[in-house]
Structures are given as C-alpha cells and as structure tokens.
C-alpha cells in the first residue's frame, strides 16, 4: 500500500493527487487529514501520474499535506446473514452500537449485470394488501416498481405499509423452516432525521427490524456518500437473495437525492452536462441500480425493488422520473389532489402501471377474473375522470344516465377502492370483490372488457329490483 502527500488540487468533493505508480479505476482511497481523521474516497479517473478522487465524506478539512493511501482494491461490502436486524450508516459502518460485523464474504459493490439468459421471468404475485396496487398495478417478485411521489406526499407511509404487509399468498410470512424468509433492505439517501425516525419507529413497533438491514445516509451526511449507499444496500440484497435464499424487498429513498449527488460530482469534474445539468450517463448509472432486481434461474431467492423518488415540481418529464420510468417495470404514482381529498394512500391509478402484472395474475396466481376486472375499472375510471371536466361546464343534468353512472363510479372508486388507510390489509379476494361491487353499479352492457361468462358469475344484480321482480 503506497502512501502519498502529493495532493495538487481540491475542488468540491474531488481531490487530485500525483502518483508515481499506476492506480486502478474505481479503487478505494483513504485520506488522512492533519487532525487525524480518515476520509474515504474512490478513484474517478486514473491517468499516468495523476488521479482524481471523489471523497465520500466531503473534502472539508483536507489540505495539501494530507496523506493519500490507495488500498489497491475496489469498494467492497462485508456481507453476512447477521446483518439482518442491523442499522448501518451510508457507507456501511454500524451505528446501532451493536457488535462488529464479522463478514462471511466481501462483495464488490458495483455488482455485475445479470446475464439475461440466466434470469427467470418474474411471475409470482406479491400481495401488498393495498387495493390500488394489488388490484390495478400488481407487484411481482423480482420486479422493480418505483413510487413516483412529490414533496409533502405520504410516500413513506405507503412504503412502510408495503414493507409491513407484503406476502406471497400460500406461503407463511417469516416461515423460517423452508429458508424462504422475506427480508427488507432499507436504503435511505439524504432523508431527514425526522423521516428516518418515522421509519425506525415503525420498524421497531412492528418488529420488522429483525428481518431488516437499514442503511442511513441522512440529509446532513455528505452528498457524495449517497452514490455508495444504494450500492451497499443492493450488494447486501443480492447476497441474501442469491446466496442465502431470502426473498428480499429493497426500499430506496429518495432517488432524487441520489441523482442530485451525481450531478454535484459531474459538475465538480467539469463534465459536459446532459438535460437540466444531470450527467449524460445518468441513465446507465440508474440502470446499474435498478437492474439489480430480479430472479435467477435455479436460485430460491429474489430481489424486489421499490425505489421512491420525489418528482421536482410534480413533473414526471423531469429527467429523474423520466429515466427511471424507462428502466423500471412500471410506476406507482402518488397524486396531490387525491391526497388533499384525504384519500389514503393517494394512488392515482391512471398514470400508474405495472409491466409485469399481466404474467403475475390470473387463474392459479390471483384470480381468473382479475385481468378483466382491472381493465374494466381502468376504462370506467378514465371515462368518469374525463366526464368530470365536462360536468364543471354543463352540469350533471345535461349528461346521460350512463354518464352519471360513470361519474358515480369514479367517485366510489376513489373513496372506497383506493381509499383504505395505512393499516388495512386487504386480501386479493377482497380487492377483486370490491371491484365487482363497484362495477355492478354500471349496466352490464357497459362492461365490454369483461368476458360474458365472468359477468354472469360475478355481476351483482340490483337486489331491490330482483326482489321486486320476485314479489310480482
């Protein structure tokens, strides 16, 4: 290990140092300052005689006399099953006062791409107990399904609800015997202490912490560290899933902070910026995080990801949600209007989507009528939503009877189907039956997306009318 005192330039999170021996790209660096602190960093660019280093903890306190040590290896995450139940900081050091971590293995945090040939297509339904998700945008094992939210919206409550309730039907949660436990990896990037407390309290209250690993990079922690935190979390997730057969749910929050950190580094390196100042390689970079979800043929475990991002200005064309949407398998969109109406969770199902839903539902997985019911509810809700604009102009009286029914449907859909509160856990059966309740307010002929046999089987005839007929 070579040590240098050759720093030539310090700029933002970057340090430039002269070296006389070659240094590998991405290698880990330790910088020792005058006051005895040791800071860690990573090689961003390595050329003959000069390297640029990105310092995770920020460059405060570094001067030209600080000594620079190259560890000769890329960043590794010490992993072990004992990590479950532990709380670590954003660069992987324990902060819960627990014992030191004795790793079973040390894994490269960059992670290698899964060979598409070796993947197994995800098609196992995860029941989250949230109708807006289970019924309309079903999550499956191995999927990456982000929550697109905005500042001030209750995305954390939803994420916690999912973490608490997610199960795969016909398999007992936390079933230790078959080695198929459900573990939660929580990667926090730049969230406030208060938000962090909210998560921790809930984890402790529900006992979820036992089967969780928490990585905390808080808002006042160095921004550059945020680029490492999700990689540590995912490396741990991959280890638990593919070495230890766990089904892992990874919650990453907030991706927006992660991207800000990328931009900060890009700016410090004087790179040519892409859209809105974010680096041109942000798509690739995000893909390297999100694509680490999935299933592998011949392995028991799986990695399911729920990244949370707050859309700046609620704008889904902003580069962060935009690039995310192109990589992930759908999105759950939180809606400000629904939130102000008090709908919990305020999921707007129209722009939401789960790309893997079609293969994860149906006979034997959820129910045979699931796809048709969900399709029909989408169409009916979209129709009702359209009519709301019109009602504002012409009033309800000017609309046909059918149109009025669509309007009522849209209202009930929001206040009964989507609305359920954060503590209600609905089974998939309840969700679909509720869907039939709502759809039965529409005339049979309007249900053009549902198979006729299914309508016969499930459509609720108007009971009063039926009784009236009987009475006659």
């Amino acid at each position: 290990m070579k040590e240098y005192q050759t720093i030539t330039e310090i700029s933002g999170p970057l340090v430039f140092a002269e070296v006389d021996e070659p240094v590998g790209y991405d290698e880990i660096v330790e910088i020792e300052t005058d006051d005895g602190r040791t800071l860690r960093g990573q090689v961003l660019e390595s050329s003959e005689g000069l390297v640029s280093i990105q310092v995770f903890e920020g460059t405060g306190g570094i001067d030209r006399n600080a000594s620079v040590r190259f560890l000769g290896e890329t960043m590794k995450m010490p992993v072990t099953e004992d990590l479950l139940g532990r709380v670590l900081d954003g660069s992987g050091q324990p902060i819960d006062g627990g014992p030191e971590i004795v790793p079973e293995s040390r894994e490269d945090i960059v992670g290698e791409a899964i060979n598409p040939f070796s993947r197994e297509y995800p098609e196992e339904f995860i029941q989250t107990g949230v109708s807006g998700i289970d019924g309309m945008n079903t999550l499956v094992r191995g999927q990456k399904l982000p929550i697109f939210s905005g500042s001030g919206l209750p995305h954390n409550d939803l994420a916690l609800q999912i973490a608490r309730q997610a199960t795969v039907p016909e398999e007992e949660e936390g079933d230790d015997e078959d080695g198929s436990e459900f573990a939660v990896i929580f990667g926090a990037m730049g969230i406030t202490q208060e938000e962090a407390n909210e998560f921790m309290d809930d984890f402790e209250r529900t006992g979820a912490l036992e089967r969780s690993v928490v990585f905390m990079n808080l808002a006042d922690d160095p921004a550059v560290e945020r680029t490492v935190t999700p990689r540590l979390a995912l490396t741990t997730a991959e280890y638990l899933a593919f070495e230890k057969d766990y089904h892992v749910l990874v919650i990453l929050t907030d991706i927006t902070n992660y991207c800000e950190a990328l931009r900060e580094i890009g700016a410090a390196r004087e790179e040519v910026p892409g859209r809105r100042g974010y680096p041109g390689y942000m798509y690739t970079d995000l893909a390297q995080l999100y694509e680490r979800a999935g299933r592998i043929e011949g392995k028991e475990g799986s990695v399911t990801q729920i990244p949370i991002l707050t859309m700046p200005g609620d704008d889904d064309t902003h580069p962060i949600p935009d690039l995310t949407g192109y990589i992930t398998e759908g999105q759950i969109v939180m809606d400000r209007d629904l939130n102000s109406q008090g709908i919990e969770p305020p999921i707007n199902v129209l722009p939401s989507l789960s790309r893997l839903m079609d293969d994860g539902i149906g006979e034997g997985l959820t129910r045979g009528d699931h796809a048709d019911v969900s399709d029909q509810m989408y169409a009916a809700y979209a129709e009702g939503e359209d009519l709301r604009d019109l009602v504002n102009i012409v009033g309800r009286e000017a609309l046909s009877e059918l149109d009025n029914k669509y309007l009522d449907f849209a209202d009930r859909f929001e206040t009964e189907f989507v609305e359920q509160g954060y503590d209600t856990n609905r089974s998939i059966d309840d969700t679909i039956e509720l869907g039939w309740d709502l759809l039965s307010d529409l005339p049979k002929e309007a249900l053009n997306r549902i198979d006729e046999d299914l309508i016969e089987e499930h459509y609720r005839e108007d009971t009063e009318e039926a009784e009236a007929v009987q009475a006659n």
Binding site: E21, P22, G24, Y25, D26, E27, E45, S46, S47, E48, E73, D108, V110, G111, E112, A113, I114, N115, P116, F117, S118, R119, Y121, P122, G142, Q143, E271, V272, P273, G274, R275, G280, Y281, Y283, T284, A287, Y290, G294, E297, G298, K299, P319, D322, G325, E329, Q331, L350, P351, L356, D359, A371, A379, A382, L390, I393, V394, L399, S400, E445, E452
Partner: protein
C-alpha cells in the same frame, strides 16, 4: 466476437495511459481506427475510436473497475466483426455477438464476469452441407454454393463471401462439416467455408435498391389496416415510457410475416429480454407452425450491461440481418430502443470531450441514424436473389416530447411513424398508437397488394374509417365544451360509430390467445361489419328513428366481441344479419 483465426499479424502492444469509465487511452499502440483490442491484464474487449499522435482512445465493452495505467493493450489488427454462418439463428447474443448461454457456462455464474470471450457461432457443431454447384461451374462473389438446414424452418444458404473474387469450382464436398472446414474450392485458390466474418460498421454490398411493394403483414389491425409498412421499409415507434413500445415490438417480432427476425434489445430491461428468451421458443409461427425461435436471432444488451457494447449492438444486428438478406430472405429487424443507442453515443462522446451538438448528443447523431436506416431496404443482391431488411426502431423520447433530437432526426429518415400516446395507454387503449398523429408513406405503393390479396375495395373502406376517425376528432372538441347530447343526431351517431372503430377495431389485446394475431382478411371483415352498422344506422336515422333506439339495438355490443372470436367468419356474418334485421325493424 470472432476468434476464428489466430491473430496472424502480431502488432505492437501498447500501454494504458489513463482510464475513465468505459474510455481508456493507450500509448504506443500501433492500431487503425475501429480495430478491436484487448485491454489490461484481464483482456477486456475494446475498440479504437480515436487516434491522436502517440495516444489511442479505446472504448471498452466491459466494466473497467480496477484497471489502471501501465497495464498492456493488445491489438488484434481486425475491425469489430461478426461471425456469420449456420448457428446464428436460435441464438442469444450480447452487443458484441458473444452468445449469452455460452457465457453463462464459461463463467459458471448468472452474473456477467469480465474478460471472457466466446465466438458468435459454434465451431464444433457439424452441419449437413448440400452443394448447389458442381465442379466446373463458375461462381462470383456472393453466389450461393450450397445449403444447410439450419433450423426447422430456415435453410441456410452458404455463399461466396462478398470480398472474394470467385472463379471456377475445382472441388465440392458434401456431407457433415464444421463451419471452418472447406466445402468448396475455386481455381482462384479461394476456399469457401460455411463461416464468414464481416465488419459490423460496413454495409454488406448489394446490387440495387428497389421500391418495396409488398407489405410486412403484422397481424396488428391498426398497423395493417391504417399504417402498413413495406418489406424493406423503415419505421419508428416513439413513445413515452409505459406507452407500449416494447409490447408493440414484441408483437411485431412474433407475428410479422418475415422469414427472419433479428431482435435487438438495446439498453432495455433485463426482465423483458428474459421474457423474450422464455416466450419465443414456446410460440409458434402462425404461418409455418414451427417454433418462432427457429427464425429468430436475439441480441440482448440490457441497460446495465456496458455502454460501449450498447453502441455496437445495433450494428451487430443489422449486419446479421444483411447476411440473411443476401440469401434472398425477407428480414425484419426490431431495435428497442434506438434512443438508448443514441445515448450510448452521447456518453462516449462526452467522455472524449467532443464538442456537443443538440442536448449534448454528438454532432454526428443524424449521420449515424441515417446510416443505420439506409442499410434497410428491398435489394437486388449481388448473387441475383432478392431480399429485404425492414428496420423498425423504437424511440424513447425524454418526457414523451417528440421534438427532441433523436425523434426528430429519425423522423427525417423513416417512412412509417407509429406515434404512441400516453393518454391512450392510461385508459388502457392498446396498442396505444395515436391514429391522428401516425402516418405511413407506403400506403399507396402497397394498395395494389391489398386489393389483390385481401379485398378489392380495401383502400376505400380504409379511407372511410380514416374519415370517421377524423370527424370524431373534430367533434370531440365540441363535445368537450357542450356535451354529447347537445350535438345533432347524425353527429351523435358518427361518434357512436367512431367509438366502435376505436374499441372494437383499433384496440387489440396482445395477451389474448385469439386477438393477439389478426389476419388481414379478418381485419378487413371486422371493419366492414362496423361499416355495415354505420350504413344501416344512418338509413334508420334518415327514416326518423331516434339515435338512442339505434344505439340500444341488441346486436351492437357484439361488435366488441368480434376480435376475440375464433370462428370469426360465421360470427361476423351472423352479427351483420342481426344488425340489419334489428335496425330495420325499428322503422
């Protein structure tokens, strides 16, 4: 990537000077532009993209973590090439034609390791070669000299490589051979094997490019019916995320009546590629009943695989497509998505610190895109056969904004434009192709084919549908203001007809067993049934029947069930006569 021949020209090795992500600079390397090099102690594959004085810039197709200055760089002296020969079909490659199944085996893990190379085709397998020439025949470059049954549905034609001169055949073999055994010898001293290599960035030569007149029938009603593409044509599918680009591409790859399908997954999702890999072998070609995979070559470079390999995967795909075109086949190439390819160019370009053009894309973006699409077309091949390459590129415009550089530069070249619409997707109208924005410039040159092969009045009926949809578009603006009931009755009826066009005809369920593929005759027949309803309804309206009564006729909801009907001929005949009868009984 090709490993067939040992490196004969041992070039001078270079030394790494600097590393920044996928871009590596080497000193003292004796190399030409676009030569393939092996970088570092691990021998990572790369390509020369810039030469300046003693410094050579290389884009590396693999992760470069841990690679440092001082490590060696070895030049192969060859440009990036693909291996062509039997074994290309039914294969799954990464962006530089390494077979993914072989990589899995060699690496022994599900994760893509570094520094492992594998040839594009298997050099051990023996193939049954049947010559089509005799001793004494004269063959020129590109000529077919024999055949190999490559898969169930495709006969592979063995050709004289285009860069050979040709001559008189002096010896011919017949029987089982591996791909690098000589099967035909010429008096010019040239030896022909079943294997040839071709540099990916160079188009394979052809005689002439012709105007395409035959449609690529896709079994998708909105495409065949309204916006057809020709065999040898070009098309772009732009759309925001979630609008169904990939599903549309998959549908085309599954059902298009091409002989060969090359599917390039360029920077897309891993799970999606897995779906293709798992689904295709199980699906049947509707024409031949053979597994779809036996006519398909998959190239999968997912978004988290190295960015430089993403840049090259489009070229790998089109070169393979051209090779089959040379055999006289109709090839369809799907590229999903060209935006990721453009972004890969941008990423490399910015690492090279090139002066950026619009939105940071390199100034040569337009040139690269047109170069790619120009390799498509219907060709008279140099061996006299006719073949075509149809190129269909998905575009992923940021924020769904079609004014961005990749969409705009693509639109300047392609002749078919299938605009996907987030609004339609949100209400689950699939395929969410917007009928007002999309266009096909092939319509007219394909009309004679449709008249002859489907129905004499196809273009007229189609025009009727287009007119109704146009009218609906205009009426919708008024409806937004005053409501539907404020419109005159005939316009209300037009809206009703347009609704059936949208819901019963344009919508198509890719996940329904029957509906997923709709033959042109059925497409026509369904349209005609809606037109029957239209004609009957307007007659009734003229006779004074109120529009509500016409709408409430019992038979009309059955229009929505035509798509899923197996026995569609009977179903539609019956439906039409019921419609006629029931509507006429109103007056």
């Amino acid at each position: 990537m090709s490993q067939a021949e040992d490196i004969e020209t041992v070039d001078e090795d270079g030394v790494i000077e600097s590393v920044s992500g996928p871009v590596v600079t080497a000193a003292d390397l004796d190399a030409r532009m676009n030569d393939v090099v092996y970088v570092g102690d691990e021998g990572l594959m790369g390509e020369v993209i810039e030469i300046e004085g003693n410094l050579t810039t290389i884009q590396v197709y693999e992760e470069t973590s841990g690679v440092g200055p001082g490590e060696p760089v070895e030049n192969t002296g060859e440009p990036l090439s693909v291996d062509l020969g039997p074994g290309v079909l039914d294969a799954i490659y990464d962006g530089v034609q390494r077979p993914l199944d072989v990589l899995e085996e060699k690496m022994g893990t599900a994760f893509l390791d570094r520094g492992v190379d594998a040839p594009g085709i298997d050099f051990e397998t023996e193939w049954e070669f049947t010559p089509t020439v005799d001793e004494g025949d004269t063959v020129g470059s590109g000529d077919i000299v024999g055949e190999v049954p490559e898969t169930e549905s495709i006969t592979h034609k063995v050709m004289v490589p285009p860069d050979y001169e040709g001559g008189e055949v002096t010896s011919v073999e017949s029987g089982e051979f591996t791909v690098d055994e000589v099967v035909v010898e010429l008096d010019s001293g040239e030896e022909i094997t079943m294997h040839q290599e071709w540099p990916v960035r160079q188009a394979r030569p052809a005689d002439t490019k012709e105007t395409p007149t035959v449609p690529l029938v896709s079994g998708q009603r909105i495409l065949d019916g309204l916006f057809p593409i020709a065999k040898g044509g070009t098309a772009a599918i732009p759309g925001p995320f979630g609008s169904g680009k990939t599903v549309t591409q998959h549908q085309l790859a599954k059902w298009a009546d091409a002989d060969i399908v090359v599917y390039v997954g360029c920077g897309e999702r891993g799970n999606e590629m897995t779906e293709v890999i798992e689904d295709f072998p199980e699906l049947e070609d509707p024409k031949t009943g053979k597994p779809l995979m036996s006519r398909t070559c998959l190239i999968a470079n997912t978004s988290n695989m190295p960015v430089a390999a993403r840049e090259s995967c489009i070229y790998t795909g089109i070169t393979i497509a051209e090779y089959f075109r040379d055999m006289g086949y109709d090839v369809a190439l799907m590229a999903d998505s060209t935006s990721r390819w453009a972004e890969a160019m941008r990423e490399i370009s910015s690492r090279l610190e090139e002066m950026p053009g619009e939105e940071g894309y390199p100034a040569y973006l337009a040139a690269s895109l047109s170069e790619f699409y120009e390799r498509a077309g219907k060709f008279q091949n140099i061996n006299g056969t006719e073949g075509s390459v149809t190129a269909i590129g998905a575009v992923s415009p940021p924020g769904g904004d079609f004014s961005e550089p990749v969409t705009q530069n693509t639109l300047r070249i392609v002749k078919t434009f299938w605009a996907l619409d987030a609004d339609l997707a949100e209400r689950r109208h699939f395929p969410s192709i917007n009928w007002n924005e999309s266009y096909s410039l092939y319509r007219q040159q394909l009309d004679p084919w449709f008249r002859e092969n489907v129905e004499e009045d196809w273009p007229e009926v189609r025009q009727w549908a287009v007119d109704v949809l146009d009218e609906e578009d205009e009426l919708q603006e008024i409806v937004q203001l005053v409501g539907k009931d404020a419109l005159p009755e005939d316009q209300q009826l037009t809206l009703e007809v347009a609704r059936y066009l949208r819901e019963a005809w344009l919508q198509q369920n890719a996940f329904h067993d029957v509906d997923t593929y709709c033959e042109p005759k059925k497409t026509y027949r369904m349209l005609l049934a809606i037109k029957t309803f239209n004609d009957e309804a307007f007659d009734a309206l003229e006779a004074g029947v109120p529009v509500e009564e016409i709408q409430d006729v019992d038979a009309t909801p059955r229009l929505n069930r035509m798509n899923t009907s197996d026995e569609w001929n009977e179903f539609i005949d019956e439906l039409e006569s019921d419609l006629e009868e029931q509507i006429r009984s109103l007056y």
